[in-house]
Amino acid sequence: MPPSRPPRDHRPRHAPLPSSAVSAFIRPARLDALLAPWMPDAEERAFVVRCIVGEGPIHHRGASYALLCLLGLLLEELGPDEGGAPRGESLPVPIRLPPHLARGSDHDYPLAIPLAPLTRLAPEGSPKLAALVDCLTDGPPHHALANAAMVCLLDALFARAARARAGVEPA
């Protein structure tokens, strides 16, 4: 006798939530404040925030918002920042344009990706590091800029952790 099939699940399948449910929790002003240490210019910041939570598929907007806010909350948990945004080496996030139409020097987004956190995964100046940067900054702008923003916040978190460790280590 063949094994019996599992009973069919007749419960209603999970339906995707409407876009409005995602839009309702996104607060661009919160990201704006979070990214201010890296982009002092309000207009440039508004551009980047719009690209992250105002453009692209709605689930990406919500996901990027959630992850960036969580990183921001973790920073807050660690107490007030005394050092500001880390000022290490960074690379630009390029605006992807057809090469023959690119001109001038302003074809990069105003938010750059810091290298310090990535050197924990690949040596400075190595092809591996270049590949990491390429992966994080390629693709649609809502991806690339959310990636860069996350690496900025991770950079700040690592800097805080280093300061905290230095504070508890015996002199």
Binding site: D41, E43, E44, A46, F47, R50, C51, E55, G56, I95, L97, P98, L101, A102, R103, G104, D106, H107, D108, Y109, P110, P140, P141, H142
Partner: protein, 237 residues
């Protein structure tokens, strides 16, 4: 004076090279001068359904409501830090007050007329080299972190906004993330009252900055209720 028989045809040709609002003001000013409010009313009755911006402007004038002044201050404010401005759509009156004030900003005009077919060489000749023609295939050349797109909005209720069809061709998802600012300049101040043919509806949220008209001057508001001739204004050229 009777309404000229080919007025609609003439209006369409002029609107192609000046923009609907600018042409409407020009024609209505002439009609008001020739035959006063009755002639303007007749023109609205005859042409209003076909040319809703003309209908809107005529209604404003006939009801004596203050017309939204074209003040570029809000646009100039939105352009702070911008070095390249690409204009989508054509409104000569608005460009006449804006373009000469664009200090240090390279300006271009997208040569997609959204259904009308102007001679862009003639249009741009009015700006004495201050604006250059930009084809759709060259859009990306104007992109950048200090670049802005601007189009004219023909009234909004806060949700829907009416724009030239060219705006929808230009402001696709790729382009939106390549320009720092997406500016809508509302040059009517209120939604049109008849079906806005020639225009398309978009979402007011499409713009990173929606600049409304300046509030009417007190003397203009005081004249409400009386048919009136428009205040002297720059002629569309």
């Amino acid at each position: 004076m009777a309404l000229p028989p080919a007025l609609g045809q003439a209006f369409r040709m002029v609107a192609a090279e000046l923009g609907m609002r600018s042409a409407a003001r020009l024609f209505l000013r002439e009609l008001m001068g020739e035959g006063g409010a009755p002639l303007v009313r007749e023109a609205r009755d005859k042409l209003g359904r076909e040319f809703p911006v003309l209908d809107f402007v005529a209604e404003q004038w006939l009801s004596g409501r203050a017309e939204a002044p074209l003040d570029p201050a809000g646009v100039l404010d939105a352009l702070r830090g911008v070095t390249r401005l690409l204009v989508v759509g054509l409104e000569a009156d608005a460009l006449d007050v804006l373009v000469p004030r664009l200090s240090g900003v390279e300006a271009g005009l997208v040569t997609d007329a959204g259904g009308l077919d102007p001679d862009f060489r003639r249009v741009l000749a009015n700006y004495d080299g201050l604006m250059e023609p930009v084809g759709l295939s060259e859009l990306h050349r104007w992109a950048g972190r200090r670049s802005a797109l601007l189009t004219f909005v023909y009234g909004t209720d806060g949700h829907a906004a009416h724009v030239s069809p060219s705006w929808l061709r230009v402001s696709g998802p790729d382009v939106r993330t390549q320009f720092r600012s997406l500016i809508g300049w509302d040059i009517l101040g209120q939604p049109m009252t008849v079906y806005p043919r020639w225009m398309v509806e978009t979402c007011a949220g499409d713009f990173s900055c929606l600049v409304g008209p300046a509030p009417p001057a007190p003397e203009a508001a005081a004249g409400a209720g009386q048919p009136r001739a428009p205040a002297p204004a720059r002629e569309a050229t």
